[in-house]
């Protein structure tokens, strides 16, 4: 996962508002079933995505090879205070890539 994940989070919201978050992580998501030059390419996918807000988990996904390459997720969360979202993507090797976004809630 050399490239940076893309995240769309509104920069501000009203207290109690339900906002939509969209995330896109560049990754081949090798299923382990693809052949290249006659050999089976081993499985290597992002298997976990976690979204936290001010340190508390608000959404997460356990993923399998059936998730398409460049995994895309859209989900909702209710915000009641300003703070920071932390997103993390972890692959089969345990490597994690993170991204964060701040939001002002009035």
């Amino acid at each position: 996962m050399a490239k940076k994940p893309r995240v769309k989070v509104p920069s501000s919201a009203k207290k109690g508002e339900v906002i939509q978050i969209k995330t896109l992580a560049p990754h081949k998501m090798e299923t382990g079933r693809r052949k290249s030059k006659g050999k089976l390419v081993p499985r290597m996918i992002i298997n976990k995505f976690v979204a936290k807000f001010n340190g508390k988990e608000v959404f997460s996904t356990d993923m399998h090879p059936a998730i398409s390459a460049n995994p895309y997720f859209s989900f909702y969360t209710k915000v009641s205070e300003s703070g920071t979202f932390e997103f993390s993507w972890t692959d089969d090797k345990g490597k994690t890539v993170k991204a964060s976004r701040k939001i002002t809630v009035k």
């Binding site: 996904t61 895309y72 969360t77």
Partner: protein, 157 residues
């Protein structure tokens, strides 16, 4: 080389008629991978949802009728729920009845999710049913199934 092995195995099978011998002979000619089946998907569903009786309703699956490209098929699942601390969706599980393996993804939500609606893109190997199961905070389970036609399968990469 392979032919002589099969011929020897056949002889053994005829003599022994043991399941083990048949299995060895069979595995040398059949493809090594087996695809998921509705039964496998159902077994996984029970495991993920704790075996609670699956109710219908509340869950809506949005999938195209025909997937032109099985490598990336847009999927949305919405669950009719007030999403309050007393009544909310804890998890949404997506399963496949026809991919090499039935597991697709499990989304973990909370009372602060606001809306039980998730979207993603999935790989589908062939025409099949996609299953979405919502597990509520009280343990109850709601399941929906949707069939989708796949013109070009997306599991081989």
């Amino acid at each position: 080389m392979a032919k002589s092995n099969i011929q020897i195995a056949r002889r053994d099978v005829l003599r022994a008629a043991g399941l083990g011998a048949v299995a060895v002979a069979a595995s040398s000619v059949l493809p090594s991978e087996s695809f998921a089946t509705p039964a496998k998907a159902d077994a996984l569903l029970k495991k993920l949802t704790g075996g609670a009786a699956a109710k219908s309703g509340r869950v809506t699956i949005k999938l195209p009728e025909i997937a032109e490209n099985g490598r990336t098929v847009p999927l949305s699942v919405t669950v009719d729920s007030p999403m309050t601390s007393k009544d909310y969706v804890k998890a949404i599980h997506v399963l496949s009845e026809g991919n090499p393996t039935p597991a697709v993804a499990s989304f973990n939500l909370s009372a602060s999710s606001g809306k039980a609606a998730v979207s993603t893109r999935i790989r589908l190997g062939k025409t099949q049913n996609v299953i979405a199961a919502a597990v509520m905070n009280d343990g109850s389970v709601y399941v929906a199934k949707k069939k989708i036609k796949v013109t070009i399968g997306g599991c081989g990469g």
